[in-house]
Each structure stands twice: as C-alpha cells, then as structure tokens.
C-alpha cells in the first residue's frame, strides 16, 4: 500500500527519495519533510492510540505542539526508547520505529475498549475518590491495577547512549516564533544591529506563511519567508535556532530554549565529522527584550463523538494538505464559527476531494473566504454546526443542525451527512503560555474570544500571540515590536519595510465552544474537551454540580489540562463549559495560567553535561595519584576524594577494612604513620586587628598567643552551637593561619567575611583562602621525629620545637612550615609545602620511611586515633544542637573575655543552661568485643515499654587495637555527672548492649605521648 492519501504534488517535501518507517510493527513509507503524523495520515493510518480512561480509538487531530492523541513510543533498541513523542512534532527519518502507547493487544482491536464502553459510565469524574475504599486492606491491590492502566509510554530500561549540553547566551532581543510576526520582528531588530536570537519550534521556520494562501508582495507567502530567512542568516548579529522550543520564561528575561539537534536524524545522535554530537542542547538565554511571536492555536469545537478518528482541526487539515501534500480523507464536513477555517474546505476542494458541506454557526456568513467557497459551489449551511460524529474507528458521517447559540439548544432538524472527515474550528487562542510562566494573569477579550497576555517588563508580544490575526497587521505588529525591542536595548531601528499584503475582508466570528445536542449533556453522546485525559463536557458539568466551582477545582477534579499537551486545545473550551454550567462568564470562572514547560523537555537536556563523571566536581589533593597507585579506598568528604584506608594484599588476599585500619592504627601508635591532610581548610589572616577578630569568632582566648605558637580554637554560631573547630597559628603579631575542617572550609571563610563586612568593618584585617596553595602531610607516631630529622634542617629537639609550636625550614629540599600539633595523641608533625612540591616531599618521606615502617593511613584510622583521644569531629560528634559546654570543653571557653564573642550570650538561655543536656562522654562496652553501632540510642531503663525514653546516642564508635576493645563517644543526658554509670543500647536485632559511661579520653589521658 503506498500512501493513499498523498497528493501527486505539493507540500514541502523532498520527493526524490522515500523513507521507510514502521508503526506498530507495520512498514510504511514517507518522504523527507514529513512528520511522523503526516506520514501516518498519508498512509491512511486512522487509529494511532487508545484513550487513557475509556480506551476509545483515537486519531491525529492537529499538526503541531497541541496534538493530544498521537503520542507514541519511539525507538528500535532498549536504550534508544523515547516515551510520549508527539507524532506531529517528530520529523520522519529512515528506519524510524514507533508504537502506540496504549491498546491491548493492539490499537486496532483493543479489549480494554470493550471495558471502556461498558464501564465508561461508571467512571464519572472523581470516581476514584468515591470507591475502592472497602475493604481498606484492598487499596494497595486496587492501586496496582489502577497504576497499570495509567501512564502513556514506558521508560527505557537502559542507560541513555546520548549526551546533551547547555549553552549560556546573552542577547539584546530574543524573538520566539518565526512566523510572520517573528520574522518581521527579527528583521526589524536584526537590521538595527542588535544581537538577535530567533527561535522556532518547527522543523522549518516560517510558521503560518508556509501553508498560507496569501501573496506577499505579489509572491506566495512562503517565498517572502524564504527571503527573510536568507537575509537573517546573513546577518552576523542574528542567530537562527530552528527546531528550538522556548520552554520556560523565567524571571528577569531568562528563557530556556530547547534545541533538538538530532532528533530529526535518528533515534540516537549520529556522529558529525567523526565526532560525538549532542542529541539536544539547552540554550539558557538572558535577553534584553523578549518578543513573543508564538502565534495562536486553533480551538476545536466540542460535539458528540468528536474523538472518533477523522475528526481534525480545520487548520491542521490545511497544514497537512499544503505543507505535507496529504489529504487526510475523501469527504469533508467543516464545522466552524469563523471565516479563517474556510481555508480547510478550499484546500480540500482544490485537492480534488469532496467537501460535503460547511456548517457555519453564524447565521449570515460573509467574507472573502466564504465567497470563495460559494464560488466553488460548496454547500454552506448557515447557523449550523456538527452535533455529533458518526462512526467507530473512523468517521462515517456527521449530524448537522441549526443551533441556537444564545439558548444553547438545537434549533432545527438534524441532517445526516455522509463523510469520513470532520474539521472543526471554534476560533483561536493566542499562545500566551510563556507570558504567564512568571505569574502574570492574562486578560479575556470578548472581541477576539480569547485570552491575551499581560506582559511583564521586558516582554513584548506580536501578532497572533496577542490576538492580531490579519497577515498585514501581523507583519506590522511584528516589525514594531522588533523595532521597539531593539530601541529599548539601545539600537536605532530602521524605517519599517513591510511587504504588501492584500487586505482580506473577513466577517466576525461567533462564540461557540460546546455545540448543543438534542439530549442534555449528561445523557447525550460523549463530547470530549480534553482528549488526552478523556475529559468530557459531561464530566465538567458533574463537577460543577458537586460544588467544584473554580476552574482550578474543575481541572483538578476532572484532570482536564493535566496531559502532556497541557490543555492547549481543551482548556478554554472547558472553562466555557464550566462557565455555562455555573451561569457565569469565562473570566469569572477564572483565567488560565501555564507553567513551564511549554512542551515537555528531555531530562537529559535539562541535566546537560552535569551527569556521570561530571555530575559533581571531584577534588583531589596533590598526592592523589600516589593514593590511587597504592590501592587506597576513598571516602567522599564534601567534594574531596580522601583516602579512607589503604588495604594491603596479605597472604594472597586483600585485607578487610577492619584489618587495614587495625594495622594502620598500630603503626601510628607504635612506629610512624602518614596522613594526607591537605583537604583541611586554610585561611591566611593578616592585619593589625587579626587577633581581636579571632577573639570574637572563637570561644577561647587569643590575646596572648605568641608568634611561633599554635592554638586549638572552637567556633560557635550566635545560637551557642558548635559550628567548626581547628588550629590557628600565630605567624606574626598581625599574621595568623587558621585551619578549618575539610567540610567547613568555605563556610568558615564566608563566616569570617560576613562578620567583617557587615558587623565589624572597622577592624583592619583581611582573609584569604590558601587551602589549595599548601599540601599538608601529617607524620605521626613515636618514630616521627627520627624520620623527619633525616630530611629536614629544622631543629626538632623537643625543647627547641615544642608541642604546639610551628617552625619553618627545608623538608626534602623544599621550603616547609611544620606544625607540631597532634590529632592522634602521638608525636606529630604537620608538614606544609607548596602543593606543586607535595608529591616529591611525600615520596621522599617514604624513601626514608621504609626503615621505620612508615605506613600511610586514611580517614578511618584518623578517626579511630582521634576518638581514642576524645577529640571531636564537628558534624559527627556535634549536630548543630551541641554547645562547647555540652562537649565539656570548658578549657576552650573564654567566659571572661572582654568582647561578648559569637555564641556566648546564647549559652545562658534557659534551655542551653540546663544541666541535664546531652553531654559528650566516652562509652566502654561491657563486652570488649562489642563495637557499638554509631547512631545507637542510649536508654537508662532497657525494660521500659515502647516508646522508650532515649537519653542520648553514640556519635563515634570503633574498635581500638590499642585497647583491644570497642569504645565509643556518645552524648548522654547529664552525662558529665554520670561517670561510671551503666547505660543500655537496645539494638534492632533484639540485643541490648551494656556500656559504662567513662571519660571520652581513652588513650594517654595526660597527653604524654604527644609531648615527647
């Protein structure tokens, strides 16, 4: 069968070659230039889908973004599946494979359809809410079947083979839509020299000019469009983006443009020039001015069985004939409320097929197009409309009668006309979606029977988008909008140069939405308002009877407008029907507001390149390569990759984490270990008021810290809760180096800045991050001094270089600052060198360290060792509800400092001053083999019934090779006064662990080891 509905000539197709494609497994042919929809119509495919609720057969009704029915599944392989593709917007390509998204066993013979027919009447709006309630236990079963019958296409089950990207653009004038208004606006702005982007969603730019019957400057409209596009393409300051939909309008003129770069070429992006190209691209545009030239959507009429395949939009009929050379049937009945739709009948007749009649709702249709139809001998039935379509799987006839629009009743005998196609038009709705994305309300205009946008600053509308329809007016409106937009961004527009268009006499339209029927709406045939969601006029009527009176309630109760077409065809009709039922006007029922997206956008395009390897930065230290080569397992700490532990191969197998950590811990306690501590935040602080500043942001005292000395500092927020900690070294009287936790680096720097900039600008001090400048390696353990001494000129004598001192000198021939601070409780030196030398210094340490069994250790061992010493990790042992007092760190609280430092005042509030707050303690499990679970809850009475009063929880817990026992840090209510008491930890498996409250310092409580 070869394209029975294809005209011998005409259409904007490349007829030199054919493309083959399949639909529901059947092979068909089409031409380059076809959409999947036009090719299906050319091949006489009537049923493209089954409807969602009633499973009724559905055909193609529109030719663009507003199509509700022809939603298909694309893709020949699993990874290439694309759900819910609108056939009207999918260019045909060789080998395209598409399927209907619903229908079982297939769309032609659908068994669900039988159920839909029988059961349809039991599914009024909101029926879900009224049933499936008994027995309560059955709901999850009911739901399973409800879910199964819902949904359109299916998700791919494999990873997407394609990639996507973003481009950030800035322009003076963004013109959306390249129809007559948009082209004219782009010419005006482009010729002025402004930076212009012209985006259009269709395969080809030109919009309505591509299927127009009009002459511009005596030439067919499409030729003028082609010339305009050629000129625009030649301007350096103009960027043309075809196949690009403006999906979202955001605040301050930020617009997202979704450019489909390869979807017309294949189901996956082909390579270009041997290189990968992106499937689609999202342009993130900041525009000086935005010109909306988005045109208007035709509104279908709502009549009985208006969903049977063969019911189309009048404008779509013209598009298929003129753009694609396809006549979607043989015998046409047109039902219209306006002149413009007559084009469908004229185009149809000129294609050599029969126009049975035009039912025109106006009592006395006049106007040029009407006259042309009359001249062709087409029968016009004035004051009439199609009441009802006949047919099951395809229209077989139409019942037409005179209608009384005022009285909403049928005013005459219905006449049955034989036909296979019914085209309808109830007028036009300006495409105002983008204009309302930032919440601006549209305004109803009775003269054009549509909503027009209320524009926010910086946005202009032109042509159909604001209800201007006559081509000459549209061109002029486009030009003046483009010129104004250019002018407002600082460019002088040239004098308007517009083509001559013969003004056409048109007669006015009448307001017709739902066509009356002999039977009341609730008893008559189904009149569909929202085809995708199977919402009927009756459903809207029932909803209003049940008290759903705002359009928002009606929409939610009936699901009208919630489909992938977002109600582009149905919303206004639905509002009109609700208004009729409630005896109100359309604007009284509500306006309609749209949200992004205008048409759906692939997740991948929104994600762009921010996925997989590039989802989030991985930050590395200067020694990272070494860690990788030495088999480190890594821990994510913020964006950093830090070595977690270094498992070794022992006796032919890899160590477990437990084994590796035990070995690393022993190495530090007994010999010497090394940690890459480069990720700690480092802030260089200079200025005469640096010391004063430190005294205000830290809880402890800084007045007397001498150059060459280091001190631990604790930082709170002004609510008294611990925020971060670290050491700060005095480099010079006015010069300090602050360290922060790895995760806190950026936060702390901003914290210092905000206090300086907003509260204490008079303090003379500057902060600069030097985190990345320095690489830090901690050499720690009893042998640390001996090892370091081999490669440094610094005097490491315990008196010359004391605990909490820092010195500078050469380490491995590299200038270094060495800090004698300890987070392990052992003798420790933190060596800081410029990061570019770090690997050299690190490797030199290993070259000399072999004889001391120098052992690299990771964050896990660091945690064990510090916990043995009772050192906290902010964020692990604190959670934003812990004060320095709760931590028992009274030694770090400068109660008598002259300035009321950040956090101090909050400590005396009634709740923070309580003595039974959760306080940091150590826990010793009664059974030393037990390692308590971190996060285990602590109770005093394990026999208490649920809910059990919880008195605290374990914050850190490890096995200590030094103690050969589990041990933990925890917060316990009043814990500081409960030393020696037993607490209980009831676990998920039913076990209840016992533990003794002890000091949080488990190893070397006097601190002798770090001080050797």
């Amino acid at each position: 069968m070869s394209q029975p509905n294809r005209l011998a000539r005409g259409g904007r197709l490349d007829r030199s070659r054919e493309l083959s494609f399949t639909f529901n497994g059947q092979s068909y042919r089409g031409y380059p230039g076809d959409t999947l929809a036009s090719a299906l119509l050319a091949n006489g495919v009537d049923i493209v889908n089954r409807s969602f609720k009633y499973s009724r057969p559905r055909g193609i009704v529109a030719a663009g973004a507003e199509e509700p029915n022809a939603v298909v599944q694309l893709g020949s392989t699993e990874a290439a599946q694309v759900p819910n593709v609108r056939a009207t917007q999918q260019a045909l390509f060789e080998g395209l494979e598409a399927r209907s998204t619903n229908g079982w066993p297939n769309v032609q013979r659908d068994l669900m359809g039988v159920i839909g027919k029988l059961g349809g009447q039991f599914m009024p709006p909101g029926f879900y809410y009224k049933t499936f309630m008994a027995p309560a236990s059955m709901w999850m079963t009911y739901e399973k079947y409800i879910r199964k019958s819902a949904g359109l296409g299916r998700s791919p089950m494999e990873k997407d083979p394609d990639s996507y990207d973003h481009v950030n653009r800035h322009c003076d004038v963004l013109v959306i839509g390249a129809g007559p208004a948009g082209l004219s606006a782009a010419l005006a702005a482009g010729r002025s020299g402004a930076l212009v982007i012209l985006a259009d969603e269709q395969e080809e730019m030109g919009g309505s000019l591509l299927d127009s019957r009009e002459l511009l400057d005596e030439r067919p409209a499409e030729q003028w469009a082609a010339a305009a596009l050629e000129e625009l393409a030649g301007l350096d300051n103009v960027l043309l983006l075809p196949r690009t939909t403006a999906n979202g309008y955001h605040d301050h003129n930020f617009v997202t443009l979704h450019e489909r770069r390869t979807e017309h070429l294949g189901e996956t992006a082909p390579q270009a020039g041997g290189r990968r190209q992106v499937r689609s691209r999202l342009h993130r545009v900041r525009a000086g001015r935005v010109v909306l030239a988005t045109g208007a959507h035709e509104r279908p009429l709502v009549y009985g069985n208006n969903d049977v395949p063969g019911n189309l939009q009048a404008g779509a009929v013209s598009s298929y004939i003129r753009r694609y050379g396809v006549v979607p049937g043989n015998k046409l009945v047109l039902s219209t409320s306006n002149d413009h739709a007559y084009r469908a009948a004229l185009d149809w007749a000129e294609s050599g097929r029969e126009v049975v009649a035009i039912a025109d709702a106006r009592p006395e249709p006049a106007g040029e197009l009407v006259e042309q139809a009359r001249a062709k001998g087409i029968r016009i039935i004035p004051g009439a409309a199609v009441l009802e379509a006949r047919g099951q799987n395809r229209v077989t006839g139409a019942r037409v009668a005179r209608v009384d629009l005022e009285g909403f009743r049928v005013a005459g005998e219905a006449e049955s006309l034989e036909c296979d196609t019914i085209a309808s038009s109830g007028g036009y709705s300006p495409v105002i979606h983008l204009a309302s994305h930032t919440g601006a309300r549209p305004t109803w205009r009775d003269d054009i029977l549509g909503f027009v946008p209320n524009l926010v600053e910086g946005v202009l509308a032109a042509g159909g988008a604001q209800g201007v329809y006559a081509t000459s007016d549209v061109l002029a409106d486009g030009w003046s909008s483009g010129a104004r937009a250019a002018g407002e961004t600082g460019f002088d527009a040239l004098e308007a140069q517009l083509p001559h268009v013969e003004a056409r006499h048109e007669s006015g339209s009448v307001a017709l939405y739902q066509v009356p029927h002999e039977k009341p709406t609730l008893r008559g045939p189904k009149q569909f308002v929202d085809l995708q969601n199977d919402v009927t006029a009756a459903a809207i009527e029932v909803a209003t009877r049940e008290g759903f009176e705002s359009i928002e309630h009606v929409k939610r109760y009936t699901a009208m407008g919630f489909g992938t077409d977002q109600g582009k065809l149905g919303n206004i009709n639905g509002m009109a029907i609700a208004a009729r039922c409630l005896g109100r006007s359309i604007p009284e029922v509500g306006t309609t507001v749209f949200r992004p997206n205008y048409t759906p956008v692939t997740f991948g395009a929104v994600v762009g390149r921010h996925c997989r390897e590039l989802f989030d930065p991985e930050r590395y230290t200067a020694m990272h390569q070494w860690h990788v080569e030495h088999g480190a397992e890594f821990e994510d700490v913020g964006q950093w990759k830090r070595p977690w532990y270094f498992p070794r191969r022992v006796e032919g197998r890899m160590e477990s984490m437990h084994e590796a950590v035990a070995r690393e811990c022993r190495a530090v306690r007994e010999k010497v270990g090394i940690l890459d501590a480069s990720t700690l935040g480092k802030i260089d602080i200079q200025g005469p008021d640096a010391r004063e500043f430190l005294g205000r942001v830290y809880t402890n005292k800084w007045a007397k810290l001498a150059p060459g000395r280091v001190r631990y500092g604790l930082m709170c927020k002004d609510d008294g809760m611990v925020m971060d900690d670290g050491t700060t070294s005095c480099l010079g009287e006015n010069h300090f180096l602050m360290t922060t936790s790895t995760g806190g680096a950026a936060t702390v720097l901003e914290w210092l800045e905000v206090w300086h900039q907003t509260e204490w600008p008079e303090l003379e001090v500057y902060f600069n991050s030097v985190t990345d400048h320095w690489a830090t390696m901690t050499v720690t353990g009893p042998e640390a001094r001996k090892l370091l001494a081999e490669i440094t000129d610094i005097d490491l004598d315990r008196e010359a270089f004391k605990f909490m001192d820092w010195r500078e000198g050469m380490v491995a021939d590299v200038p270094a600052r060495v800090f004698r601070i300890s987070f392990t409780g052992e003798l420790a030196y933190e060596i800081n060198v410029q990061a570019n030398y770090a690997l050299h210094v690190w490797e030199t340490l290993f070259a000399h360290g072999e004889k001391y069994d120098l052992t690299p250790y990771g964050t896990e061992t660091m945690h064990v060792l510090r916990a043995e010493k009772g050192f906290i990790i902010a964020g692990q042992d604190t959670d934003g509800s812990v004060t320095p007092e709760d931590l028992g760190m009274y030694w770090a609280i400068g109660y008598d400092k002259p300035f009321s430092w950040i956090g101090k005042r909050a400590l005396t509030r009634p709740d923070t001053a309580r003595t039974d707050r959760k306080q940091l303690v150590g826990l010793k499990p009664r059974n030393p083999e037990v390692v308590l679970e971190e996060g285990a809850q602590i109770v005093f009475d394990p026999d208490h019934a649920i809910p059990m009063p919880m008195k605290g929880h374990v914050t850190s817990s490890y096995y200590s090779p030094t103690l050969d026992s589990g041990f933990a840090l925890a917060v316990v209510k009043g814990g500081q006064q409960r030393m020696g008491e037993t607490v209980y930890l009831p676990m998920a498996d039913g076990q209840v662990h016992e533990a003794e409250i002890v000091s949080p310092i488990f190893v070397d409580p006097k601190g002798e080891r770090q001080n050797v």
Binding site: K159, H250, L522, V607, C611, G875, E934, I946
Partner: protein, 416 residues
C-alpha cells in the same frame, strides 16, 4: 451526606450522574462562630473537621481567601512518612501517620493513601551514621523502619544505579514501609466534605484583612465580606502566616521560601517506592497516573511568587538522573512552586500567641502535607480546650527564646 460506595456509583451511572450532591455548601457567613479557622488548606479544613467530629464544636467557620485546598495542599509532592529524628517531631508525625491509615474510611473519601514505603538514601559515612541514629530512635519510639545496605536498596529499586561508579555511590538507606504517598487534592476535598456535613461553614473567596483584638483578646476578624466574630481564632495559612501575624501585631520566627517541584510525562509503572536523597539532593516517586513526581530543596530567598529559580530545577533533575540514569530520555512535563514557611529548626510552630484566643499552626516548611491529619487533630484539640495538646506543646513559639529548638534539618533534609 451522600455516602460514597461502589454500589452508589452504579446507581448514579443509571441515572446519568444527574443526582450527585454538592460535596460542600457555599454558605453565607454568619455574624459569629465559636471558632474561626483562617486558611482552607488541608490543615485548616482538617482542624475544622476534628473540632466538629471529635470535640463537638460545630459552629465553626473556615475562611479561605481563594479556593479550598488551593495553596500548598495542591502543590506538594504528597509524601507521607513519620521517620523523624527527635522524639517530639517523631511523635507528632507518627500521630499523623496513624490517622492517615484510616483516613479514607473515616472521611468516606478515598485519599488514595498508598503505603508503598519511603527510602532515604545514604551516600556518605556520615549519612549512614545519621540514618542509623534516626532509625534506632524511630524503633524505640515505636515507628517502623530499618536500615538497608546498598544491596537491600538495589533489591527494592532495581532501576536505580547502586553501583560504585556513581559520583556518590549509594551506601544504604533508611526504609519506612508504612510511609508512602497520597492524593493531595482529595485530602482537602474529603475534609471539606466531612466538615461541611457536620455543619462547618467553609467560606471560600473570603479574605481576612485584620483581626479584632480588645484588651489582648481576639474576638473576630475583618474580612472582605464583613466582620466575623469568634473568641477563638486559629491561623493555618502556611506561607502567608507571617502576613497574618503582622495584622495581629505579631512577628514570627518564619521565612517564606519558594519550593519547587516538577513532574515527568506519564509513564507505565516503573518505580514502586518513594526514593529520597539528601546528599545527591532530590526525591522521586511515581504517581498513580504515571508521572514521576520530583522535587528537592527550597530556594534560598524569601518569595511569595509561587515560583523559584531555574537552577534549582536543573540541580534536581541532575540528582534524579544521577540516581536513575535510565530516566535521561524521559521528559519533564511541568514545574511549579509553592510557598513554604520555614522555621529555623525545620519544625513547625503550633502555638498560642500573646493575643489571647489567637493561635497559629504554621512553619511546617516542606513537611506539611504528611502532617495534615495529625496537625489538624492536635490543633483542634488545643483550640477546643484552650490548652495546647501535649504533642503540640513542644512546638511553642517560646522555644526560640529559651533555646529548646528541635533541629530536624538532618531528617528533613531535602524538601518533601
């Protein structure tokens, strides 16, 4: 009240659905009521319903400036769970969860509460510590939940990328089987229908423009439809609470932020549970209609515009595709925003005020929907007795002066 049932549906079908009753009346405001509820969302309507049903106070008006259920009730992503960390919050949300479990039958309105379970993923060691802490606390508070490892997560959600190749590999999760989703609009409509049947006046399109206060006691409200009196006024106005408070001369510890969400096009069933990740920062479930319902965190600025900034949407979808690479070709249908009133400790305010008789129930931030029945019930109890219900008492406004905050940022994490 017309009772709904499958049998009734058949009966109505035979009469062409011409005999359905209104689900609620459209009454003229009376001069005075015993209690006025300001705000006709789920919490407000629920409060009125429980006042009438459980506390015998039926002379109640619910004043709604728009349409009932049109605010955050209509805009949230419908997740219901009770696995909060701190005792006070857990007790309140579990109180709510228990009511969710019989709500459809109680209201004779199917709110489609689907107990399909919620996963809160952990991607770092600290995530897992927090998860263990929370699940342990939940268990001892009598709330269901368990800690899963990555393998357990993969078994529940086979389509998720639980491999080690992910930027932040899934290490495990907390799993609350009783948690799930519900049909948000139906909650408002069900409570409205139930309250209306018990005599509550639901006054839509009625805007409170001020409070009538004398000697520190509230005795009514000014509205665009005239003054209405009552000696007990409960404000349940979510994002607009601050604006109302200002009318009464009060200041609240609240900021109203945009919270965005989005849905995909409808798909055949592919995801059977709710998946949330604080760290990768996004959450997702699939509605009964087939849409993937997706959200993440709030926008950082104050905003009453019911929209946020685009990068938030980008980050959210990046998180979803990171967790579910197979969704890369699925398409985003629509995004929208709500206004969430957030407290500094991510817990609500259910409180008396300095004005006698004037109560506020707000500050639910991103967690309001799941709390609807519980919040409504304890608030109704508090209004009825003039004393805060024990479950509501810890959420008093005083905590911001004493310092007794209940910091749920960890458990609240991404918005939901």
């Amino acid at each position: 009240m017309q009772r709904y049932s499958g049998f009734g549906l058949v009966k109505h079908a035979l009469s062409h659905h011409e005999n359905w009753q209104r689900q609620w009346r459209n009454p003229t405001p009376k001069k005075a009521y015993d209690v006025i509820i300001v705000g006709g969302g789920g919490h407000g309507l629920g409060t009125a319903y429980y006042l009438a049903k459980e506390f015998g106070i039926r002379n109640v008006a619910v004043i709604e400036k728009g349409w009932l259920g049109g605010g955050n009730t209509a805009r949230n992503t419908t997740i219901v769970r009770s696995n909060y960390l701190w005792d006070e919050a857990a007790a309140l949300y579990e109180h709510s969860m228990k009511r969710w479990e019989g709500l459809s039958q109680d209201l004779n309105y199917n709110v489609m509460f689907s107990q399909r379970g919620v996963l809160n993923l952990g991607h770092t060691l600290q995530d897992m510590r927090d998860i263990q802490r929370r699940v342990n606390a939940n268990r001892l508070n009598g709330i269901d939940g368990e800690v899963l490892d990555a393998k357990g997560v993969q078994e529940l959600v086979p389509i998720m990328d639980c491999s080690k190749n992910a930027r932040y590999p899934v290490m495990g999760a907390s799993w609350q089987p009783r948690a799930g989703v519900a049909r948000h609009d139906a909650v408002a409509w069900g409570y409205a229908r139930g309250a209306d049947a018990l005599g509550v006046d639901i006054l839509q399109q009625t805007e409170v423009t001020g409070f009538k206060i004398r000697d520190g006691q509230v005795y009514g409200v000014h509205t665009n439809r005239g003054d209405i009196e009552a000696k007990t006024v409960g404000c349940v106005a979510a994002g607009n609470s601050g604006v109302l408070a200002k009318m009464a001369g009060l200041k609240l510890p609240l900021e109203s932020h945009p919270l965005q969400a989005l849905v995909s096009e409808p798909l055949k069933p592919v995801l059977d549970t709710v998946v949330m990740s604080n760290h990768v920062h996004g959450y997702i479930s699939q509605s009964d209609k087939g849409d993937l319902v997706i959200g993440a965190g709030i926008d950082g600025y104050t905003g009453y515009g019911q929209r946020g900034s685009y990068p938030t949407v980008e980050h959210t979808l990046q998180a979803i595709v990171e967790m579910f690479p197979i969704f890369s070709r699925v398409r985003m249908n629509r995004q929208w925003g709500g206004i969430v009133d957030t407290c500094p400790d991510a817990c609500p305010l259910i409180s008396k005020t300095k004005v006698k008789g004037l109560y506020f129930n707000c500050g639910w931030g991103t967690g309001g929907f799941k709390a609807t029945p519980g919040s409504a019930h304890v608030f109704a109890a508090s209004l009825a007795k003039g004393e805060m219900h024990p479950l509501a008492a810890p959420f008093s406004i005083d905590r911001f002066n004493t310092g007794a905050l209940i910091d749920e940022h960890g458990a609240a994490g991404v918005a939901h």
